[in-house]
Amino acid sequence: MRDVAIVAFSQSKHERRIETQNEIEMMMPVVGELFDRTGLSADTIGFTCSGSTDFLAGQAFSFVTILDAIGPWPPISESHVEMDGAWALYEAWVKLQIGEIDSALVYSYGKSSPGDLPKVLTTQLDPYYVAPMWPDAISIAGLQARALLDSGKATERDFAEVAVRNRRSAMDNPKAQLAGEFNADDILAEPYLASPLRKHDCPPITDGAAAVILAAGDLARELSDRPAWIRGLDHRVDAHALGLRDLTVSPSTRLAGEKAGVGNAPVDFAELHAPFTHQELIIADALGLGDDVTINPSGGALAANPIMAAGLIRLGEAAERITRGDGNRAVAHATSGPCLQQNLVCVLEGDD
């Protein structure tokens, strides 16, 4: 496998509603920061790949206009996935592995404020048997949380403690939208939003953007004093129909984690893309992460959840911590679809 690393990561300040800027204006400073830091430009980067969804903007081919943000002329080599940016990174990584290119720009953005997000997410459900009932995203997550409680694997207090830890960690994250000191008892005294989920079990609705630069071999060492090497990367999918799955486990995460080699050596910390508190428990279990592993030092998707970017941000946050020397081996995870349907796992390592 070719040595490929995340050498730079940038993200916007995440907010509930970025009213003045459109998607291009939101994306441009984030990409511009990476160009400045690495000295690369649209002309010199080997490949550009983005992840977003038209359903957030309510506009067909909305991602095409966002290319204005990077200066795609003369024509560049470019691609887009209608998925979280973590999967755009996967596509770029494959191209780097093939050896066609030495660098890639990956970006993604999610401006959820134009629409009614819980309903927008309904459109990813089965269009014949589920979507016509219009279950919103929080109710669907509630089904999964209920199943987890009924299985005896977790309690509502476990959920609350995940919320407390993530919001506390987010206090050290200057880009976070939601951070603060809470306690589990107070949270458990709050009413249900979609039983058994309370407001604190849910992610904020976020406008935000993120980007990373990937580089191979010597170029990576040139661009970063301590590149975060991608030592394993895999993604897997579970059945779309919710009724076909045991919602209390995540076989696709487990398999992707095995293929990425999560268990081959100790893990220092993990960035898990768990929009809802109970989902962090399911993912950590599927990846076999023990109590000794620090989970979501950034505050995770509970601190900021720009749809389509929150997964890429997990990879970027983990890479940035490796580069900083907070640890030497990290796991980053991204999810997509209802109730953790699709999952991507990445193992990142520093040079010891």
């Binding site: 459109n22 204006e25 511009g32 649209a42 309510g58 290319l67 200066g71 009614d116």
Partner: protein, 174 residues
């Protein structure tokens, strides 16, 4: 391995389901952004406000906030005149559902003087068959009390009577 995909006997002769309805209605609040907000507010005051790229100096109308060539913010605002040149056009002869215009009518790209990106609009007040590339036109605006933050404020473009523009004016726009 042979896979049998024939229907079960109980479905013999049953009318197949050919459609099912999933009503879908989502409302969005459009975020115009900084550049387009300036443009749309300008239209309300009958002003055409473009933006210039600081690197290649092209003027974009409407502006979207970034130069699609250089990937940098277009920060210089430029007020443009209400005159321009037809760069290309289409005579619409085909009736279609929802059509509001009497056919034949002319849709055209109009390169406003000083801009590097044509605007889409209608050409009226002249027989359709006389519309041509290079035709000099001016904007016909709605009445002042009907102005909104919309490009529909320009009802159509009409000929100014000037001689046609030299093709060099619009050769980069085709």
């Amino acid at each position: 391995m042979t896979i049998d995909l024939s229907t079960i006997p109980a479905l013999d002769g049953v009318e197949p389901v050919r459609s099912t309805k999933t009503p879908l209605h989502l409302d969005y609040e459009y975020t115009a952004g900084i550049a387009q907000t300036r443009f749309l507010l300008g239209l309300r005051d009958k002003k055409l406000l473009g933006q210039r790229c600081p690197k290649c100096h092209k003027v974009y109308l409407p502006p979207r906030g970034a130069c699609p060539t250089d990937g940098v913010p277009t920060t210089d605002e430029v007020e443009l005149p209400h005159t321009g040149t037809v760069t290309t056009f289409c005579v619409v002869n085909v009736p279609f559902h929802g059509q509001q215009m009497e056919i034949p009518y002319v849709s055209a790209n109009v390169l406003v003087d000083g801009a590097d990106l044509p605007l889409f609009g209608l050409v009226q007040e002249m027989p359709a068959h006389e519309v041509r590339m290079g035709l000099r036109v001016e904007a016909v605006w709605k009445d002042d009390d009907e102005l909104e933050t919309s490009l529909e404020n320009i009802k159509w473009w009409r000929p100014t009577g000037e001689p046609d523009a030299d093709p060099s004016v619009y050769e980069g726009q085709m």
